[in-house]
Assembly symmetry: C2
Homo-oligomer: 547 residues x 2
């Protein structure tokens, strides 16, 4: 497989974005012919990974190119079918690991919509007319509000259980009971009805916010959108997101600030991220206007777009890579200056705020990537500030103690919660669940810790001298490469997210894990399973033993 994730509105196949002042209209209109693989057509506004990659791109552009948008109306180009969810033939013909990665990417995209609502002042209205089924309803449920046409025909549904023998796994079950707070028995009925619910009942059961008579549908959407956009100042001028250029060779990828080097022999990759090339003093002197003038070439945005693309190509295109060694290169002071500058301006400048939010999003994508990560803190590294998060997100970190006492890690100005994990905690906090005050001290003090001090402070796993370092590291990498990839995935998914849970961790932890289980079960994917039988003349044959 060779997926890439760069798209542009001028060549979208499945979406349309129209911005009118503070109101954007996002319209789904899937081109059935343009698919990511052969063997299926995207009928009925159903989607595959390609549709979702465009949506992820669109979300980025809304935030960076159209910062004045205060309301997003989400709709479809087909009055009969709003969206039928993930394409069944696509799912059926996909491998297990593709299914899992596809669902994860889709889930991440859904949470990006909610992140824009919670943190960027976007109010989303799903304007639903026609059939809104499965992943379609899961998408609508990401909006702040759902208006459903009351026309005797339009309906919302989660037909996965009754029709396909799988779960509404793109957040559906969780958003129904946890976000929309639908009562569990109503949710039970809803999730087993293949035709779903029409307007009145859907409203009464909290599955939509408002049932709107068809005669009033357009007027009501406009009214709600106007209300949401009221008072918004749409004079913010966006920046332009240009195409991310990178070199791809047989041994990996080279982006401007990130390299991904693949060592297929040991199923290991090295992910290297580079610091800003500007000096700390230069960064400290930047004004918000100067930063905005740099646009998408500004390090904080460019480097994290590079990192995002690197993580995605790793996930989809190099599935046998099990261990990723994370390295950093460059001037730690420049990174700390970057943190300080971003922290200083994020409250007053939309562009800086969006960059910090995006950095948090990409780091969460790292937390959620099902590979083992070891951070290597060596000569000329810069695990400082936001780049220290890479080491904190890693499953382990190894620090080389040098005689000169140069190699260390530094806490920066964004450490206290500006780059949260999916559970809302910051990555220092989660290391100090046993002593929360100590954690606040470490994140608050913004100190540099050299060598053994970094281990003592709880920020790295091992600080080792130059005799032990290469041996320990080699052994650790070899050992990791010998372990069952499935056991590691399950282990990491549990160890990485201690502490409180959020809707996001519930979706990626519990809902996805159950879905993955079902994606392995003959009752879904066996020859006579429900997923395999859908649309065929045969009915599914189940092994009735309850587990």
């Amino acid at each position: 497989m060779n997926v890439t994730f760069q798209r542009h509105p001028s060549s979208y196949n499945h979406w349309n974005l129209a911005v009118d002042g503070a109101i954007a209209t996002v319209t789904l209109g899937v081109n059935p012919e343009v698919t990511m693989a052969e063997g299926y057509e995207l009928k009925l506004n159903s989607y595959d990974l390609g549709v979702d990659i465009e949506l992820a791109d669109l979300l980025m552009r809304l935030r960076f190119e159209h910062p004045g948008v205060a309301c997003v109306v989400l709709r479809a180009n087909d009055e009969k079918v709003w969206c039928a969810g993930a394409n069944i033939l696509m799912l059926r013909s996909s491998t297990h690991h593709f299914k899992v990665n596809f669902c994860k990417f889709t889930n991440e995209t859904r949470f990006a919509i909610e992140d824009a609502q919670n943190n960027s002042g976007q109010h989303w209205i799903a304007a639903v007319r026609g059939v809104c089924a499965g992943g379609g309803y899961e998408l609508a449920a990401c909006a702040n509000e759902i208006l459903l046409a009351d026309d005797g025909r339009s309906a919302v549904s989660l037909p996965e259980v009754p029709l396909l023998g799988v779960l509404p796994g793109t957040g559906g079950l969780t958003r129904v009971v946890d976000k929309r707070k639908v009562r569990r028995d109503h949710a039970d009925v809803f999730s087993t009805l293949s035709d779903g619910l029409r307007a009145k009942r859907a409203e009464a059961w909290r599955l939509v916010d408002e049932a709107v008579p068809l005669s009033n549908f357009e007027a009501r959407i406009a009214e709600r959108a106007q209300a949401a956009a009221e008072g918004a100042t749409s004079d913010k001028k966006g920046i332009v997101l240009s195409e991310l250029k990178f070199e791809k060779s047989e041994t990996g990828y080279r982006f401007e600030y990130v390299s991904l080097d693949l060592q297929t022999a040991g199923r290991t990759a090295t992910l290297t991220m580079r610091a800003p090339s500007q000096s700390a003093a230069e960064i400290a002197a930047l004004s918000a206007d100067e930063i905005r003038a740099q646009g998408d070439q500004f390090w904080a945005l460019k480097a994290y777009r590079d990192l995002n693309e690197a993580l995605l190509v790793l996930r989809f295109n190099h599935i046998e890579i099990g261990t990723v060694l994370i390295k950093t290169e460059g001037d730690a002071d420049a990174v700390l200056a970057m943190d300080a500058k971003l922290a200083e301006l994020q409250g007053s400048d939309w562009f800086v705020r969006e960059m910090v939010l995006y950095m948090g999003f990409v780091l969460r994508r790292l937390d959620l990537t099902a590979r083992s990560f070891f951070a290597l803190i060596e000569e000329a590294s810069c695990f400082a500030g936001n780049m220290l998060e890479l080491a904190l997100a890693a499953d382990r970190s190894y620090l080389l103690e040098d005689e000169e006492g140069q190699i260390g890690v530094s806490v920066g100005a964004l450490a206290g919660g500006d780059l949260p994990m999916s559970n809302g905690l910051n990555r220092i906090e989660i290391r100090f669940l046993h002593d929360e005050q100590a954690g606040r001290d470490v994140s608050g003090k913004q100190q540099t810790y050299i060598g053994a001090e970094a281990e003592k402070a709880g920020l790295v796993t091992y600080a080792l001298d130059d005799i032990d370092y290469p041996d320990e590291l080699r052994l650790a990498i070899e050992e990791r490469a010998s372990l069952s990839p499935d056991a590691l995935t399950g282990m990491e998914a549990n160890l990485r997210f201690a502490g409180v849970e959020t809707m996001e961790t519930k979706v990626f932890g519990r809902l996805s894990a159950w879905q993955n289980w079902i994606f392995q079960r003959p009752n879904a994917v066996g020859e006579t399973g429900a997923l395999q039988s859908f649309g065929e003349p045969t009915t599914p044959q189940f092994d009735w033993r309850r587990t």
Copy 2:
């Protein structure tokens, strides 16, 4: 399979319970020959379901027969092997659904230990000498404190990932990072080390509370136990738990207060629970002494022991039953009087307190049972007080509206949080996540709701007249029986537990779901998988694709 769950200390094969004043010593000494199935021996203090059933019995006896115990010392009879965890050959030869049910029962038993610590004043000390591996360490981690002999040999370990390609799924990963608050990178190292960690490092990394030199081991255990038991009044006289008698026939089970009737044709069962036979006035007049004099024949204990056994035989022995119809019979006023009496005395009387805790435990077992439950609220039913919890725990409830206006549901005195779910919420609260004040009003007012009022109040799913009721119910049962049992299990596991998460929901939701996934994966259970290869001359062959 035909498992039953009644045991008695006089015939334990694997455990010894010795009570000395306020200190109990619980000693694991597995008889390798006494197994639940053929094909394996329980070497090295490893366990199978039979060992755990005895432990569950022992926990009940500690709470009811030895209420004066304030400290429990958990130890093993073998100085070299404390406990090697679940038996691998047993796991290997088990079906998928047995593995899943076995792990669930074991997890429930582990949480019962912690419940006794949190609510019954028991302080548990795991006194570990020798190898404490996998499920052995998971058991030790249930104690309030772990003392590990510092003898150069004793060690704690979670070798499931490196040796077996599965997870430490009986709470291991979760308790390490969430309860013991071991740092995630330390937990990562620990969980991939097949030999684990010995005393000093285990203490430094918070995996044990104290490394104790062997020369001082016994003295230190005694000292800690004395400290924990200090001030305890051991004059409470326990009651005797006699054997639970029941009739078993081809069509089901009849206990004193619970019947389980199996209709194999539709893969449906009816679970009927009966109210106390005493009148409300008689119950209201009871003193704590009189209740204690009734001992294990008192309704609140006896009926819930019956329910517990019914749920367990259903889970293990009747795995094709997919839908369970819950009915109640008897005098609702008597049940409400029971609730009032228990609420009145639980703060002052240990026996009443233990009964309420046990009722909560059994109701959580119902929440966690992977079958669909429909509550049927019909003539002569008594969904009142604690028995209303059965309807609230069900996935749906159907109420027959009678013309006389007799049929309804009643909220009792324990509704406000005395019978909590695994997430710590009460079952009314979770229905009112959208309006918490309304939930508090309903649980606080202790009202009776007749017919449509019950639906309006949010306490039942459907109130239907005598024309619609039989049709709707028949359709619902038929529809449920047609759905994929796996999809239903995953759906119910997600819809039942909205709201906050606890360590308990994390274990049953996330950890168990990942483990179940792994239990389906060829890398664990395939012919060349790690679980199949353990102890064999061959090494496992993995499909390296990361998922």
